[in-house]
Symmetry: D2
Subunit: 361 residues, 4 copies
């Protein structure tokens, strides 16, 4: 592979996350291009390929891995497949960009990390909140001393249920709202606190709205104590109507900041007739709505992709790695265990000999 | 006492809460009037009396209780004095309006309730959030079915420390942010959920900012499960700069609402020169600020006072009683115990044989 | 008439404004009570009377004027009737509270003022914005020097058309959005600038949306220069969907403030099922909406009524009089003339020998 | 010149606008690069060159025009120099990107347009609001029919005075707030209404705050009627404290939208200690502030530059040209004449035989 020019990328997956990858990479044509997509459902890969002008498509991702020119493969597949795919990609000598959450078990996480290390490929973990421009500004102000010692960071993400059907099925997803959304907030707090080690996790969970659809929790509140007397609070729900909500609060002894990616950025709009698109998961564009602009950019997807493409070229060091993803997994395991036992779970945690996080609830 | 006309009120206390009472009662001249004020610090009662045109003032509240015409006495004194004062007021045959939190121990709560019952006087508990107009609107919409089944109510109150010096001293206050501010949120959720019994309480506490001033926690997050699969989340801090913050979020399976008493009501204002007053605990009126208007009315103080005055006249039933205050105390005790043990505390709880809530932390 | 106790009030009108008066007076039971209501449409007065427990009702307001105990009569009738009604009320020896705008012509304004003067009754002009608590706070900060010299005040009121059918008919209303809504903003700026004389008026008008319903303009932008290098900008529309909008901006050389009575006070709310009431003229309570709380109080209606009741009792001087209403009328006349001629109209203005303001457009 | 690869750009100017150009181009490294900068003040060009790694710098822009590889020259110089520079650049066979406003007189505008036409180079007009992502979303919703017929567009830009000293001097700038800021809003409305011809312009102007510094107006309100019964309202001020304000309102018979680039996007922040940067022209980062994130991107500067670079490569047609800039100049002339005469000025307008717009005030 030539170590210059656009990074050639293959995508595994053709649903919402796969589309996100294709769209994000479309936004950085100078840095990367999607040259192939794989999806087991007949027709799906082809459909995405046509939409984005991707030249090659496959139903078996292993066939895609045989393509010589592909340098980086992104995993936008159900959680329970992440580990095996990562191993396969690494063995094909290609870099890995794995969607969140990293995998199903801590053993899988270790295997993924170790295999990539041995094969000399990068294992990058796709946490876009580390690239979300509005949140990056909050971090920057904090690092400039705006708030003195920051003692609490809150991140909240809520909507009315996952994009992909498979996420309702805990066998394939590993859990509910904490697994789907909490991984964002955990990674975010961990990053905001400069990777201070986690001391303990408490989590409250419930299934308020979607008990007919899932065995997973649809609401979770997670409180994490980090070394250095710092606290992360992460709130997640699949039970919030009206579209996506994603916001943070940062409190320090010297001040605070609030960043809201949706209501706090939107164009408050009334439309009698409706229009094209308001925001992720918005139920309607008629009446009052909260449309956002350049949604992908405001989440940080193209910025994230550019960063990872540059990492492949050796121009930057990965900001978010398999190791980070494993820490998030540990917090998720501790979260489910905590919700099951009604008490804080202290770190370090050990293997639980279960197949998925929610088994501890 | 004539059971008509303005209710004649005596206030015990001359600090912030005492002033709140005087100011609130000034706003309902048709329903009530302050005829006396008592405060042990020489000069303080007189000062408040002069400011509000209150005809009589005392350094010993027991002397005030001897005044025949007084029908209702409000307690705006340190927490550790509430119980004894209530007992004294009841023995004087006058109705009691006790500031939050109710007292120091559950035994005190029982004594207060029982004494007032025996003496045939009302024991009313001053939780103004039940009268805060913006929050009342949220409750009203919920009761009208706007959100279907409401599964979560959050209330947040934060600022940079208590008004009264004595609150830093846990011997006199009984605890920190949860005791000072959490009592509001607990009472609010309990009321919002129509007094559903509490199932359990989890609380996270820390002293982030004011460890030099207090042994109390200056930050608390409290998660309460109520019967009927409903959750209250209460966040409190004495470590938030920039003025008062008080807001709620209500989530139901059919929708949600957000109410912010400060940023969400204010007049965003820039002033090069400053002006009279912005908001409770605002550090400055220069530069950007968030002034509120009719702060007392927007908190609900005069509405609350009118209600209690009407209760004295038998025209309404107390919306908030000693029994409610005791439930709040139970949740506070459970909160400190939870923070001490790192686990949920199940209800019902029993006496802890301690002198104050924070002893359980 | 006894010059103490509640002021006894008769209302002329049973539509939206009449209801506003009844509701506002209900909010000040200690200061005033409605004892009679008159409306020519059979059944209407009775209906309002029943709703508010008003003991007497009439179809002929002149019969109501014969009631001895009535001290103050409010006019909530179509604009073209204001002058005659005022004269009749004054001749009956009762005080007058006239809704906005004051009347149809400047000659009528003079007659109203002069008649009330001769008969020794008050002619009060019902401009509630002078009592709107949030706007009063803006004025207060300005008076405290927050903004230094204030050089510009903007007031905007928009919705999707008047409450009363008769307002579409310019023969009865005298004009469109400027006549209906602009009178508020003109009075507000005039008051904010401490009744500085008007130097000139420019107005832009158009009928964008409701040309099928009215010959009046449904959109108006009015720029008024006041003595002392101060500018008022007033924007009004009957073409704004989605509910009521009412807000101000105040700019001084030393700062500025923004006050929004609706979006800036509301509880952003999503409801799948709908609920009782959101805000004046809101099209729906389903989906996203902007409900307000205590709408009447936040507009200042009860505060205004209390003030006028106290004026009747001689305890306060009217903050807003027939003379103020006449100044507003002059600005409205100048506005229509300006829109007709495409140029600024200088003050003082003289009589135009027309029957209503819009005749000059 | 090779018609591929990065477009090679020279910048004339080293103050705020010059820096904006350099910064914007830095954001599109795949599409363009700055290879030279010219500024007459000794040291200034060098300073900017060092900051951005620009290889060549000049004190005489004509020397820069002799550089063969330069394909596009941007003009970030005082307004009175725009025409001559454009002519010189065109004669050097290079494309022109001229900052707003286009020039000083309509004759100059004609000369610029004609010269570039004759020399076969592009004359592009740098109106970034056509690329501001949040505003583009508003336009997109409008074009999708969200608001039905749009009858009014408002654009407001205010701060406390221009970046460059020369703008206070009307001999070099041509005017005040309308010339500096109004050109944005005029271009924006013109674009939003799909270049509907202007029917007439009314403008109100005053010098409220900075009369000691400038003969230009520091406040302007401009009302423009476009063909098709559409109205643009543009408000500008150099007298607004507290940082930059830039927002739009769009009203149609079927709805409306609001977009605020500053308060409506910011992270409301309190800082006791201050931090790096809040927003353009913010007076302080201590206390409450309204920091924005990715300010350049949110204004649309890199997007605009990418577009113009692609136009140079023939991949896109210029969205904003000299002809557009001339229409803006006509509206500005009409605006000053209107403010001088106190009446609407009808289009088409003819030459005024003056040296600069403000001469008509």
């Amino acid at each position: 592979m030539a170590n210059k020019g656009q990074v050639k990328i293959g995508i595994i997956g053709s649903q919402f996350q796969g589309l996100c990858h294709a769209e994000a990479i479309k936004g950085i044509p100078d840095a990367a291009e999607v040259v192939a997509v794989a999806s087991p459902t007949p027709g799906n890969a082809e459909k995405l390929a046509k939409k984005y002008g991707i030249p090659r498509f496959f139903t078996d991702y292993k066939e895609m891995l045989a393509e010589d020119d592909i340098e980086l493969v992104t995993i936008a597949a159900p959680n329970y497949l992440h580990a095996q795919m990562t191993v396969d990609i690494a063995h094909a000598g290609k870099h890995v960009l794995c969607e969140k959450p990293l995998c199903m078990t801590l053993e899988e996480a270790d295997l993924m990390i170790e295999t990539c290390r041995q094969k000399g490929v990068l294992l990058m973990y796709a946490e876009e909140l580390l690239f979300t421009p509005k949140y990056v500004k909050a971090k920057q102000m904090a690092d400039e001393g705006a708030f003195g010692k920051v003692y609490m960071v809150k991140q909240l993400e809520k909507h009315f249920g996952p994009h992909a059907e498979w996420f309702w099925d805990v066998e394939r997803s590993g859990g509910g709202a904490l697994m789907d959304l909490g991984c964002h907030g955990i990674a975010f707090c961990y990053w905001f606190f400069d990777r201070a080690p986690i001391k303990n996790v408490y989590c409250h969970m419930a299934t308020h709205v979607h008990g007919d659809k899932t065995k997973g929790e649809d609401d979770a509140i997670c409180i994490i104590e980090f070394e250095g007397a710092r606290v992360g609070v992460i709130e997640n729900s699949w039970g919030r109507r009206g579209g996506m909500e994603d916001r943070i609060e940062v409190y320090g002894e010297g001040g605070e900041t609030y960043a809201d990616l949706h209501m706090g950025n939107a164009l408050p709009t009334y439309s009698e007739y409706g229009y094209g698109y308001a925001v992720e998961k918005a139920p309607s564009t008629k009446g009052w709505s909260w449309p956002v602009f350049e949604e992908f950019w405001n989440y940080g997807f193209p910025q994230e992709m550019r960063h990872f493409a540059r990492c492949v070229r050796g121009k930057e060091e990965p900001l978010c790695t398999g190791e980070d993803g494993k820490v998030v997994m540990e917090a998720i395991y501790a979260g489910y265990e905590s919700a099951g036992k009604g008490r804080k779970i202290d770190f370090p945690i050990k293997s639980h000999k279960v197949k998925k996080p929610i088994d501890l609830w």
